[in-house]
Symmetry: D2
Subunit: 277 residues, 4 copies
Amino acid sequence: MQVLRLHCDDKAGIVAAVATALSNNQCNIEESSQFHDPSSNQFYMRLVFTPLEDGCLKSFTERFEKISHDFSMTWKICDVSQKLKTLLMVSQYDHCLNDILYRWRTNQLPIDITAVISNHENTKDLIQGHNLPFYFLPVKNKNEQENQVRKIIEETNSELVVLARYMQILSEDFCSDFSGRVINIHHSFLPGFKGARPYHQAYDRGVKIIGATAHFATADLDEGPIITQDIVPVDHSFTPQKMQTIGQDTESRVLAKAVKLYAERRIFSHGNRTIIL
Amino acid sequence: MQVLRLHCDDKAGIVAAVATALSNNQCNIEESSQFHDPSSNQFYMRLVFTPLEDGCLKSFTERFEKISHDFSMTWKICDVSQKLKTLLMVSQYDHCLNDILYRWRTNQLPIDITAVISNHENTKDLIQGHNLPFYFLPVKNKNEQENQVRKIIEETNSELVVLARYMQILSEDFCSDFSGRVINIHHSFLPGFKGARPYHQAYDRGVKIIGATAHFATADLDEGPIITQDIVPVDHSFTPQKMQTIGQDTESRVLAKAVKLYAERRIFSHGNRTIIL
Amino acid sequence: MQVLRLHCDDKAGIVAAVATALSNNQCNIEESSQFHDPSSNQFYMRLVFTPLEDGCLKSFTERFEKISHDFSMTWKICDVSQKLKTLLMVSQYDHCLNDILYRWRTNQLPIDITAVISNHENTKDLIQGHNLPFYFLPVKNKNEQENQVRKIIEETNSELVVLARYMQILSEDFCSDFSGRVINIHHSFLPGFKGARPYHQAYDRGVKIIGATAHFATADLDEGPIITQDIVPVDHSFTPQKMQTIGQDTESRVLAKAVKLYAERRIFSHGNRTIIL
Amino acid sequence: MQVLRLHCDDKAGIVAAVATALSNNQCNIEESSQFHDPSSNQFYMRLVFTPLEDGCLKSFTERFEKISHDFSMTWKICDVSQKLKTLLMVSQYDHCLNDILYRWRTNQLPIDITAVISNHENTKDLIQGHNLPFYFLPVKNKNEQENQVRKIIEETNSELVVLARYMQILSEDFCSDFSGRVINIHHSFLPGFKGARPYHQAYDRGVKIIGATAHFATADLDEGPIITQDIVPVDHSFTPQKMQTIGQDTESRVLAKAVKLYAERRIFSHGNRTIIL
């Protein structure tokens, strides 16, 4: 099975052209979702299809290249069986890491973990116990450290970088160079409580619900396009510590969901908004 | 704007045929969702489209009739501006009724209420205050009463009948004659607590969550295809009465959602399951 | 049945003193909840009790006055059957108003609605249809208008003022004079999206969940102590208008819940936080 | 800190007696919750308190023994720092096990895991990697196997047995002998879909929400007192397999919550209902 994702200005005839090309080249549609955004006049589509015969995928792709040119599409075709090469970065808290490792190990997340980078050493044994490469990169010189990260991304061909509670701020250059390829989990319901110690902020404000937000990392801290969010109710008896404990479940769940959506090639971005098909 | 809904055996070329017919007849797709059900090999599609010129709708419909024949489709095209003619039936509890009336009055539900039938008189003033026809039909002779209901459905051309906490059981014949056109709200999270007094059953079983279920009425009580469900947490301090009070909000919300989905022509049924596009 | 609410510095012996006074004066405890806040060293308690004999309530109250003095308590005893006198203020959107009226009419909210004030006339018929006093107070001169509001509060002995989507900002003096007695509903998940047009702000930020917040009105707009909050998921297809429609249910539910908590004398405030017992 | 839990027929003077005994013996109340059940006339209370001086706990306990006798109480005092000795039983699916191990390892669950028993060997390495005793007990002869389980419970002094997706049915005798000490997770929203393959049952019935239920094991399969439940929405595109994958998160969360409530000594049972304080 193949995934086709495409995006272009909305015009008449797109769906007809794509569906006809698939049909004429013996490719069966298994799943399809699309979004016509009237506010921006953009069209987004994600299709899962099965080429029924040898050579179909090649002939469809050739035909589709012509169509995509006519409609000025941004597009990609990926083999579903090809797992997403994913690099994990983590600091001291390892609940999100543990959760992703479990889902990866039990085939719930269609990813290949290429390596784990941390600025702490506490997760080293866990990672190596899973036979995964572990890189201890403390942040003395930020530039230098980021260069090492870049090198690891390159060497491992990682398509996605997941900040699984990685508590260092990435440089503007890094965020811009890997735009749309770095997912961060923030432990608040954004846009509330950006920055440091969100559970303490939540406690001080006296909110009755706390949350977590998975978003693409951008140069503006905690301002990138939101992928998914979830919440959990709290009451007056919750100290910041108790919020932190209960919030960890939400963080793990939200981050895992975002990584899954990404790995299934469902996420499109437009400005500060995401379209999830 | 028009809604096209269609349903047929899943085959190659359906989407291509439909999209091409729309495109060739100057009809713009605004929204589209579809479902390929691998377990039953059925295909379901709902499209919202705008004919761009006079005569487009007619020419598309003519072309589409041919296509639908080729693929043995069940289909319908409806004008979005044409509100769904809806008959309400209610007994003593009027929370769902009040909720639907409010949403109807504030244009949140694209329905025309044709009449309200009740086996009690307590809502008469409320209904007539909204300038709606009210029929008081007590159930002395069930056959006779159902004949009157049938007559009202016919005379008012009602497409949908909403049982907004109507506490009488409809006959097998009635359910079968109006199959897929009668929505009931049951005040439990089905399949738990079918039948009478579900909140008392929930209390006795000691559940920690209660719910409500909107479903199509069938001859088997509380067994019809489920359209939507929602829940609310409870704890040991909830008596059946307290459950009833808090549950009313869930019932109203769930029923309103089901009516909206129906009015927007989003619901398909297959055996005991619904597909919501 | 009576409700006793009390609040004081946390010390040893409070519960013993209160429970003994009740027990010695033939008063039966029906419900009791309490909160020892370690961070502020405050103690909060809410008790529902039944005096078993004539004169018990009087003798308990006399005894309790002595106790409350010893512990420097802030306290109140209210008869449960005494409904809370509540003034509603509303602007053009009437979904919260409609919801409160329904719950009031069906005895789900233990309040007496004393009057409804609006700066618009569109809800006049609805209010008068419920045989409630309606005051049309447009805001030409803010001072003058607030004086009229103050006069109505006084004349009707209203204990609580509910801003049921009242879209005018109250003066600092008004908020301070009626501190802890004015509940506002804000149509966002605070602290996100304060101020005007929160659904448009939510759309622009691309959040995946929207919410509503009931809080005490203070001079700082949308900054008062939060009573309760709730949320509803949205996706990329939600325009600000669609958010508004779906958000109305959440707003109504959240406001009704806050009014119920207040009417049942469950809410305590400490700085910017509420304790709900 | 100490936890006092007690339960007796509801009468006047209980709270006064307990609170006075604590106060007179220099014990400070930190947390307190109680429930007067009018339907059964039972009283339940859970208190967390700190003895302020040496000997206080002893003198309070002596005094309390007298009180508990007067009111015919069932009661227990436990040291909060004393972790609950917990035995885990598991079959092939290890998501609940993995979740409990993580929470135990990060001190989120106040339990000591005494051992893990499985009728499969697949989790052996995981368990031994955590330096925990692993017992492989396949079920050839049920009686014999249960006797081994009984022996392990006894030797390890386990107070609680957690069936973390243990897919074997325990005998009536076993359930009765360990009544109120065995928590099971069932992967449906009980009372819906008891017995085998609940996700397949849920699929066949076409529900729109699936759930999980943690309950005390009793001789009647899936009929024991419910401790906690949670749900997750599904739609027509969910196959039983997809339900299973998404449901695992709910199962893990629900079971962990139940174990935490138990370890914190918050759960009381009355017939088929639980009171959680």
